[in-house]
């Protein structure tokens, strides 16, 4: 099987997932299937529950009702040990990169290896430099996060997510707050990683440029459910009134 093409092998499955914070319902019967090897984009307005969806995938949040399955494991029944094991095969790119500000970029990327593996310092440094090279910020190694630009931080955050060679990467607004040129370079980088490393991706975004470059499939998260799931091309040319309304300003 060609791993770059989406397969029937479902890696993330949401069935009728509900989540509320106090009175505020965020997910209201969400259904989602992400296949191995594909990059799925979730679009939606701010505060619609996109990040909440991602957090369910990696076990940072638990659903109130419904089923969340990752690699066939029911996330609400998984043990801590299994969760740790599963997380070691996942990467999470945070919206603001979430680098530890007292560690250099190199030490940030090395952290998962230092803390959870028994690799030697020489092996760790080699891997860290390789990943920083891969995301095209080799010079960042010695720098503190405060000395990096927003785009560089995102890349270092991406290198950290890649350091354990994950099979699934979750991206939380990978291009938010960046100028169009840097956004575009980050989008191309994500696409390139998907093509080269054959990782599955779940991307949360509200940038059209992002879904155009990155996505194999895209859906709109609206009212707590995922609608209009299709390819980016179909999604952007759809005649659905709600999609036109949502995308209207952005397409202009």
């Amino acid at each position: 099987m060609d791993a770059t093409k989406p397969s029937d092998d479902v890696i993330i499955r949401f069935r009728d997932v509900h989540k509320a914070f106090g009175e505020r319902k965020v997910l209201a019967g969400l259904d989602l299937e992400v296949h191995r090897g594909e990059t799925f984009c979730i679009m939606g307005p701010s505060g619609c529950g996109k990040s909440v969806t991602l957090r369910h995938v990696i076990g940072l949040l638990k659903q109130d009702a419904g089923l969340v399955e990752v690699e066939g494991n029911d996330m609400s029944k998984i043990s801590r040990k299994e969760l740790r094991e599963m997380r070691s095969r996942m990467g999470y790119v945070f919206q603001e990169a979430a680098l530890l500000n007292w560690l250099t970029a190199g030490a940030n990327v090395a952290l998962p290896l230092r803390e959870t593996t028994s690799l030697s310092e020489a092996e760790i440094e080699l891997k860290v430099r390789e990943k920083l090279e891969l995301v095209r910020v080799p010079d960042a190694y010695e720098k503190l996060p405060s000395e990096l630009s927003g785009g560089m931080k995102k890349r270092v955050g991406l290198a950290r997510a890649l350091i354990t060679d994950p099979e699934l990467i979750l991206y939380d607004e990978p291009t938010a707050g960046l100028d169009p040129e840097i956004s575009s370079s980050i989008n191309h980088l994500i696409r390139e990683l998907a093509d080269r490393l054959h990782v599955t991706g779940l991307v949360v975004t509200h940038h059209i440029g992002c879904i155009k470059t990155v996505g194999d499939r895209v859906g709109l998260l609206d009212g707590g459910v995922l609608k209009y799931i299709s390819t980016p091309a179909e999604f952007l040319t759809s005649e659905e009134p709600r999609l036109i309304q949502f995308l209207g300003d952005r397409l202009d």
Partner: protein, 259 residues
């Protein structure tokens, strides 16, 4: 009223659990030695000057206030005893812990709170990195070590400050003052031949250091909702630390001197 009480119980339960979690990670002390040394520097060396300044003035105040009263009964030669005992038993440990709560504890809560609201703690969790071993344990150890050491300094400069006031304002000679200080600290008891007034104070300091660190880290770990949340965590850390220090102080004093 009931909700306030249950929130208080939940708070205490959370902090006791955090303390247990920290103790369970003592095996990693050697691995975390660099972080502990860094925290010792942050928690100790950077506040030494504050402890010295406050300590000397506390000693001077105690000396002046009690000296003036004792002078009415012609008992001012006892000033050294009173200053030494009040500094070693109560003022030194309490003032040092309060200074640590206000300076280091607030900074801990703000630092960890900022990590919480900027998703750094979530990042640690998704990378399966033990944040208690990485962030909390080194800080608790550092404060539990530093608080007694700073208390010794505070006691010493307080006694010196008291002597200065006794000599210059109350006409008690320095040698008489010093004799009564030594006399007061003769009660050695069973522990290491140390004066009980000193070691009970140092034991309290050790506990106060750990209390301030656990409460401040706990406030930071639970910070929510942006800059406002960090501000609330900092305020809560200092307030709860001081309340806990005072309550623990009473019970430990009772244990040492009453039970």
């Amino acid at each position: 009223m009931i909700s306030v009480f249950t929130a208080f119980l939940a708070d205490v339960g959370y902090l006791l659990d955090l303390l247990v979690q920290v103790v369970l990670r003592f095996g990693a002390i050697v691995k975390r030695r660099e972080l502990i040394l860094e925290q010792l520097w942050q928690a100790g060396i950077k506040v030494v000057h504050v402890v010295l300044l406050v300590g000397v003035f506390i000693g001077m105040i105690v000396s002046l206030q009690t000296g003036l009263e004792l002078a009415r009964f012609g008992q001012q030669d006892q000033i050294g005893t009173i200053v030494a005992i009040s500094m070693c038993r109560e003022m030194g440990p309490f003032i040092t812990a309060t200074i640590l709560a206000a300076t280091v504890g607030s900074a801990l809560a703000a630092e960890i709170g900022t990590m919480a609201v900027s998703e750094e703690l979530s990042a640690l969790e998704v990378m399966s990195i033990d944040r208690i071993a990485l962030l909390v344990m080194p800080r608790v150890i550092a404060l539990a070590i530093m608080c007694p050491l700073l208390t010794v300094l505070c006691d010493a400069v307080g006694i010196v400050g008291g002597g200065f006031v006794a000599d210059s304002q109350l006409n008690v000679g320095l040698s008489l003052y010093w004799d009564s200080v030594i006399d007061a600290l003769q009660d050695t008891d069973f522990f290491l031949e140390l004066p009980k007034d000193v070691y009970s104070g140092l034991f309290k300091s050790f506990c106060f250091g750990a209390i301030v660190a656990v409460i401040s880290c706990g406030a930071g770990l639970r910070a929510t909702a942006g800059a406002l949340g960090v501000g609330n965590a900092t305020r809560k850390a200092v307030r709860d630390s001081i309340i806990a220090i005072i309550i623990a102080n009473y019970f430990m004093s009772w244990l040492f001197f009453q039970a």
